[in-house]
């Protein structure tokens, strides 16, 4: 399968890339690792007139700690680089999830920026970033804005990102000692994509109950979401099993050949419970 013809430019800098996207008026698309975009182009489900290759922009690569203690992950950082990163190693949910995203070939090329910009309703990284309350830094030739991940995803393959914007960085909270985190998923065995994937961050126990709980869910609704009803139940002192039963409250649960609505609703709760328990177990 061959993509439809397109013009190709390799951006020489972030500003160069932004300028090209701005002048193309929607006809251009950025390509990072190409692990989502190229399969779509080969199926001709995507037919950009121009591809702007941002893959070599060193300024968008790598992980570093910000002065305020938070952690900035450059948009072009690959899964493989995240796995090896000494700062990110301390995030239990990343250590759980990343080794099971795609396969080694996909992890060698796929990037964090591409993963969230693509906004696949079943991709894993969005659930993780939701549970971490991450922020997405997006830049256009007009301005830079910081988007809370909780308002980033709008639907299947749809986000608030504009055509002329690039994600430059994803900001994670710095680690804290009083919370644990974990990722648990049930995968569709052939594709490896999550039927239900759950990221949980739980902690700050004050002797009477959990004072902090954040749960991100992917694969279940038309876009990854925060399971607010679960979080409220955990903080409100309900048992973890009772809380997990709220996994899909207010969500239109997807139904397909791999998992019908009833089954997916059930496994979403099961994975929420497992992720909550695993996150708490990490607190030691």
């Amino acid at each position: 399968m061959i993509p439809a013809a397109f013009d190709y430019v390799r951006a020489t800098s972030l500003d160069d890339a932004l300028k090209r996207l701005a002048t193309a008026g929607g006809g251009a698309k950025a390509i990072a690792g190409g692990q989502s975009l190229l399969p779509l182009m080969k199926l001709r489900l995507a037919r950009p007139e121009t591809l702007v290759d941002i893959g070599r922009l060193a300024e968008l690569k790598g992980v570093h700690r910000l002065p305020d203690g938070r952690v900035a992950v450059g948009a072009l950082t690959t899964y493989d680089e995240m796995l090896r990163d000494p700062i990110l190693r301390h995030y239990g949910l990343l250590a759980d999830a990343i080794p099971n995203i795609g396969d080694v070939q996909v992890r060698n090329r796929g990037t964090i920026g591409g993963s969230i910009a693509h906004a696949d309703p079943a991709s894993d990284m969005p659930a993780i970033l939701l549970a971490l309350d991450a922020e997405v830094v997006a830049r256009s030739s007009r301005a830079e804005r910081v988007i809370p991940i909780t308002s980033f995803f709008e639907g299947a393959f749809a986000s608030v990102l504009h055509d002329d914007e690039l994600i430059t960085e994803v900001r994670l909270p710095g680690g804290r000692d009083d919370v644990g985190s974990a990722y648990r998923a049930i995968e569709q065995p052939a594709s490896g994509y999550s039927i239900a994937g759950v990221a949980a961050v739980v902690g700050a126990h004050d002797g009477t109950g959990w004072r902090y709980c954040a749960v991100g869910v992917t694969g279940v609704g038309d876009h990854p979401y925060r399971a607010a009803a679960v979080e409220k139940a955990v903080i409100g002192g309900e048992s973890l099993a009772q809380a997990a039963a709220h996994a899909t409250d207010g969500v239109t649960v997807a139904s397909d050949i791999h998992a019908d609505r009833e089954y997916r609703t059930h496994v979403a709760s099961v994975q929420v419970l497992r992720a909550l328990e695993a996150a708490i177990a990490r607190l030691g």
Binding site: M1, I2, P3, A4, A5, F6, D7, Y8, R10, I31, G34, Q35, L38, P39, M41, K42, L51, D53, G55, D80, P99, G102, D103, V104, Q105, V106, N108, R109, G192
Partner: protein
């Protein structure tokens, strides 16, 4: 539009003019006649097209030739040396790690990525490392055995007798 791609393939500098939509696997197979890299699925699933770009395993059906400009690419043809087969190739032969052989080039390139990361992989790590590579013939058992055997050779420089690396799920 024509783009110029200049890259090093199996140690040799190569210059090719391509349409931007040309895939890396087409450049290798059709422009450079390196047909050891196979196309199984053409949909990023099977791993038969796995090659190394700057030392890392990638699916060459899911990378544009222009994205490989300036890189160093290794294909299955670049694994053997004048001294003989690469330890992975020798081990696949010795331990019957193939039947039809269609998946083998990609399997070996994925395994080589693993052995560059860890010299003493467990069977679970081996199976995880070839998750993106499908084999329709062998049932994987002998592939895992072969990779385990190659790891021993690469670690110690000596091939273990074939009985010594058998068994163990």
């Amino acid at each position: 539009m024509v783009a110029h791609v200049s890259l090093t393939v199996n140690g040799k500098p190569r210059e090719v003019d391509v349409e931007p939509r040309r895939l890396l696997v087409q450049l290798l197979r059709e422009d450079l006649d390196l047909t050891g890299t196979h196309v199984g699925c053409d949909t990023s699933q099977c791993g038969a097209c796995t090659v190394h770009v700057d030392g890392k395993a990638v699916k060459s059906c899911t990378m544009l030739a222009v994205q490989a400009d300036g890189t160093t690419v290794t294909t299955i043809e670049g694994m053997a040396t004048a001294e003989g087969l690469h330890p992975l190739q020798a081990a696949f032969w010795e331990h019957h790690g193939l039947q039809c052989g269609f998946c083998t080039p990609g399997m070996i390139m994925a395994a080589a990525d693993l052995l560059a990361r860890t010299t003493e992989p467990t069977d679970a790590e081996i199976r995880h490392a070839i998750e993106g590579n499908f084999c329709r013939c062998t049932g994987y058992q002998n592939i895992v055995t072969a990779i385990r055997a190659a790891a021993v050779v690469m670690r110690t420089g000596v091939a273990a007798p074939s009985g010594a690396v058998q068994g163990g799920m």
